[in-house]
């Protein structure tokens, strides 16, 4: 209360005095005077001794702030053994980590004429790659007798639709049947607190197999097959945030989507299934339209010191975080015409 009074008095003083006279006084650093002093300071030590000292745990302490030596001494004090180093790391390979020999979609798919020079060039390259695809198909057929490139398109479309409907419904257990382990985080990241309305309206062109590859992982018998399917479809997508506000897309807008989707199967596994693995996004694709929200523009500053670099990294992350929603939203319609 006294402090408040003194502040009030100061303010009054400021108001009373003329401006030029107060100028040097206002420049001074504000000084705090302690008002809680005991009336008998000489017995401070004795008063302190009246309290039986107990050691309180520090709840606000973070695990990463404790140094290694400190941790060691604490564990020694409590008689806790350090955790056993676990060198072995069990892992289970049920899918490959990416696309091998990825299909390169022709630039301006469906728009470029065969007669033009670049169009003809592309056609030639395809012919070269086609033989490899045929070999791969033959290999797949040796494991899966009923496999045929003509019928696979429809099957792939079923998988595609199932995977996306489960994603929109956030069915994290059911989606595992239609999506490989590599693809799962890409599909399910950031859908947790969103509402996704997705509808597959129709297929404009029948889906067709454009590319096939077979590879072995670790041993020769362990074979994985990847098939790229071209989809040209019409879809509807609307993404709402946690509060039900529209973030991306629209309920009433249909979009034509051209996609090259990679499906994978562990063919040497008797119970292997064709699952959605990845989508091919070509280099020539124009950048996606950003989400219609306000961004904070932070200019990149080139600095040498590590602390400053970290700080700038944080800034970049901030930007990334704000734009991540828009990215995620548009992963699905990767090739909107």
């Amino acid at each position: 209360m006294e402090k408040l009074m003194s502040v009030k008095n100061c303010l009054k003083l400021v108001q009373l005095l003329p401006a030029p006279a107060m100028a040097p006084a206002l420049q001074l650093q504000q000084v705090r005077h302690r008002q809680t002093k005991h009336w008998k300071p000489e017995f401070k030590r004795l008063r302190k001794q009246k309290f039986v000292k107990i050691d309180l745990p520090n709840f606000r302490e973070k695990a990463e702030d404790i140094s290694k030596e400190e941790m060691r001494s604490r564990m020694k004090e409590r008689g806790v053994l350090p955790p056993r180093p676990w060198m072995e790391r069990p892992f289970h390979i049920s899918c490959t980590g990416g696309i091998f020999e990825a299909y390169v979609p022709p630039e301006g798919d469906g728009k470029k004429s065969l007669i033009s020079s670049s169009g003809a060039k592309q056609k030639l390259e395809f012919l070269e790659k086609k033989s490899k695809s045929l070999m791969a198909v033959r290999k797949i057929r040796s494991y899966e007798e009923s496999f045929s490139t003509d019928e696979f398109g429809d099957h792939a479309q079923e998988i595609y639709i199932a995977a996306h409907t489960h994603m929109a419904a956030r069915e994290k257990y059911k989606i595992r049947e239609f999506v490989s382990e590599r693809c799962y985080p890409e599909m399910m990241h950031n859908v947790k607190d969103k509402t996704i309305h997705w509808r597959f309206l129709q297929s404009l062109e029948p889906p067709r197999v454009v590319h096939a590859r077979v590879t072995e992982v670790i041993t020769k018998e362990n074979q994985f097959a990847q098939v790229t399917v071209r989809f040209h479809t019409q879809q509807m997508l609307a993404i709402y945030d946690r509060f039900g506000r529209l973030m991306h897309g629209s309920e009433i807008l249909t979009k034509d989507v051209l996609e090259y989707v990679v499906f994978e199967k562990h063919i040497s596994n008797e119970y292997g299934k064709w699952r959605l693995h990845d989508k091919i996004i070509p280099d020539w694709l124009p950048p996606k339209q950003p989400a219609p929200i306000t961004y904070r523009l932070i200019e990149d500053v080139i600095e040498e010191t590590p602390t400053q670099i970290e700080a700038s990294k944080d800034k970049v992350e901030q930007i990334a975080a704000t734009s991540i929603d828009s990215n995620d939203a548009s992963t699905k319609s990767s090739l909107a015409i």
């Binding site: 309290f51 309180l56 709840f59 606000r60 607190d193 509402t195 945030d241 509060f243 039900g244």
Partner: protein, 240 residues
């Protein structure tokens, strides 16, 4: 109680050499006395020598898992951040975003923290952060940091477009862990000391803060009218 404690300490003093060769069971049963009381019992010396013989595992501190099995701080508040609201129609007014955040077990009294929590309630975030700079209380820094964290969360994770367009819709305090301590008094008496912790909870909401967070202040005329209305609407029992 202090008599009992004194007896235990004496018992330990006497029994120490006697029990040393025998199996550790008896000692362990004595060692169940929490570590919090150790220094008080014997001025530190004996407890140190006793603990050298014992296996004082992690289970003997004030934070022992055995005694605090269900003591897991507040858990419900952050769950509100996971609610997903149904999509809105185009003609509806967009729902206001909100973020719940908290800081648990701050070493500060909940009673003192209440003043700070109530102070920022109903302010816009910028205003609250500005004001908290000038609050000369220990808890003010914690409140300030919590609000800043919540603001960042709102922008990064909850689709809030402008970080200044937030206000403090809820701000309150919860009681955290309390440790009991002792204070020496004259004539062998003692007093209790409570070392308190508190939780601070905050909910930021998008938009402008309301003009009156609490009830709107009323003019004397309004108050009079209200009183009059109240008086006239009384029911007189057993009347016509």
């Amino acid at each position: 109680m202090h008599k009992v404690l004194r007896q235990i300490s004496q018992l330990r003093l006497h029994s120490k050499p006697l029990l040393e060769p025998s199996s550790g069971n008896a000692i362990q049963s004595l060692a169940v006395v929490p570590a919090v009381h150790h220094p008080m019992l014997t001025g530190g010396q004996v407890s140190v020598s006793a603990s050298r013989d014992l296996h004082t595992a992690a289970g003997s501190g004030g934070l022992c898992a055995k005694w605090n099995k269900n003591n897991h701080g507040p858990r419900k508040w952050l769950e509100y951040n996971k609610t997903v609201h149904p999509p809105q129609q185009n003609d509806e007014e967009p729902r206001k975003a909100y973020v719940c955040h908290m800081r648990s077990n701050i070493k500060y009294s909940p009673d003192k923290m209440w003043y700070i929590a109530a102070f920022v309630r109903g302010m816009s975030v910028d205003e609250a952060l500005k004001q908290l700079n000038f609050v000369l209380k220990k808890g003010a820094t914690d409140v300030r940091e919590t609000i800043l964290e919540a603001q960042e969360m709102a922008v990064h994770n909850h689709n809030v477009e402008y970080k200044s367009n937030l206000w403090i819709a809820e701000s309150f305090v919860g009681k955290g862990r309390v440790f009991k301590g002792m204070r020496r008094h004259a004539r062998g008496r003692y007093g209790h000391v409570e070392y308190k912790h508190c939780h601070y909870f905050v909910r930021l909401e998008e938009g402008e803060p309301p003009v009156h967070y609490y009830q709107e202040p009323q003019t004397p005329q309004q108050q009079y009218d209200q009183w009059m209305e109240q008086m006239r609407s009384r029911k007189i029992i057993n009347s016509l």
